[in-house]
Amino acid sequence: MSQTQLAAPVIQALQDLTILFGAPLVSGVIAHVEGRIQGRRGPRVFQPYYDLAKLFRKETVVPEGSSWVFLVGPIIAFSCYLIVPLLIPVLTTYGLPLGYMGDILGGGFILALAGFSVAIAGTESGAPYAQLGASRAMTFGALIEPTILFVVFAVGIITATDLPYALAATVRSSTGEIVRPAHILAAIAFFLVVLADTGRIPVETHSGTLEFGMIDEGRTLEHSGAPFALLRWGSTMKQLILYTILIDVFVAPWGLATDRRPASVVLAIPSLLGKAMVVGCIFAIIDNSFSKLRLFKITEFLAAAFLLAVLAVLVFYLGGG
């Protein structure tokens, strides 16, 4: 082989860097498209980067009586969001060495740890709205959990493994795998989970300022300065991670690098970000065509997602579909 090959650690680092620096761009594009849909000009595509830069320069204010947990929470969450991209197919079709360090459930646990540390930091602030947001986020997180589990079961019995790389490979293998009901149902269920987890309508308005409707947004109300920047950055990263799982594992695992040549790996970066922006635009359209559910109606939405995930497992396990 005369061609230059990228070493595995380099590709692994590129995975992280893509998520790290691509996430604010994807959020910016979504915000821009959303502005256009609403008849505004919308913020610039690079606005999230400016916001982050501004926040990093600002001073950090800590509420009276709160302990170190308040400041450590955002850092833990941010490092969790840096670990998850190592476990999922971000750029490559083949598993990288660290990709086998954890399966889908492992990734889910790390995302849950991130959510937990943000929630506990919010609770530590002692402010009522942050605590409200934290407790709501935990409650609905617990209700989303069974759906995620059943999606993982569906993935597990389709591929006989619980590695995200394996499902992506199965989906690529034939069109029969795409139209099989179990896969369609699991993909839609996961889509609804992403909708709920990224704080989108019908579960939550992500751009509102009304504290009573807030779930995820409410947790960070008391943070400022660099920790707040980490939280904001982390939530854009979480969004891109979930989009990546949706795209590269369930819906469209094409356009990934199949070998280690620098050109194909580098080409996979814009391909992923492009696909994420398309998915983001779909989310923006949903955001602008539905109304927010009342807080106590959210269980109905989650029950629907759960139903789809359970049916996916049933149809496959007992029907061979």
Partner: protein, 222 residues
């Protein structure tokens, strides 16, 4: 070992059957009586599509006739009749039922799990038969029963009964697509009789109690 992907016919039939089941679940949550009737029309349309798929792949021309009949009857006439009855009754929202929507959905999920396991216990092994679709049609019937039992308005009960027939026709299309046409047509006329009966029931009930809810029926005096 990963299972092999199903054939295109099985996959398509399964997806259509899943759609029928999902509309059945949507009926559980529909708060507006009109939207429930529309869901029934949509479900019947999906069943018609299933009939066409079966007719095209198995080359049974009789089923085209059945598809046309069921389209005219179940997608157009029955929803029309129920909607007209509803517009006379001037009631648009179903009353609150005994359980919340999420609870009803969970109960219905348990019922469909039961359906899947009971069909699975029959050990029907056939390459020609999409067994998932059979299990789904049993699940549709059971969820229709859940709808009839848990929702306390006459329209839900009527629609539940009609959609139960949809579940049965999914089963008959998948399992016994060679059934003589006259049997299937007899089923459709059964449905017509049911529409008349439920129509009379709705009118009398509304005339007596000025509501479509069945909650008042447990009192001895009206």
């Amino acid at each position: 070992m990963p299972h092999a992907a199903p054939s295109t016919f099985t996959g398509a039939v399964d997806v259509i059957a899943v759609l029928v089941l999902l509309t059945e679940f949507a009926m559980l949550r529909a708060p507006m009586l009109r939207s429930q009737v529309r869901l029934y029309a949509f479900q019947s349309l999906v069943v018609t599509a299933l009939a066409i798929v079966v007719a095209a792949t198995r080359h049974i021309d009789e089923i085209y006739v059945l598809a046309a009949l069921s389209f005219i009857l179940k997608v157009i006439i029955v929803p029309r009749i129920v909607l007209r009855l509803l517009s006379r009754a001037e009631v648009s929202l179903a009353g609150s039922s005994a359980f919340s929507v999420a609870t009803m959905t969970l109960i219905a999920i348990v019922m469909s799990v039961f359906a899947f396991f009971s069909v699975g216990a029959l050990h029907l092994q056939s390459t020609a038969l999409p067994s998932a679709a059979l299990a789904i049609s049993v699940a549709v019937v059971l969820v229709a029963f859940v709808l009839i039992i848990l929702r306390s308005d006459v329209v839900s009960q009527a629609i539940g009964f009609f959609s139960l027939e949809n579940g049965v026709s999914v089963a008959s299309l998948v399992v016994a697509s060679g059934l003589p046409l006259i049997v299937d047509v007899a089923f459709l006329f059964d449905l017509l009789v049911a529409v008349v009966v439920f129509g009379v029931l709705m009118r009398i009930h509304h005339g007596r109690t000025k509501t479509l809810s069945t909650d008042s029926l447990d009192r001895l005096k009206g």
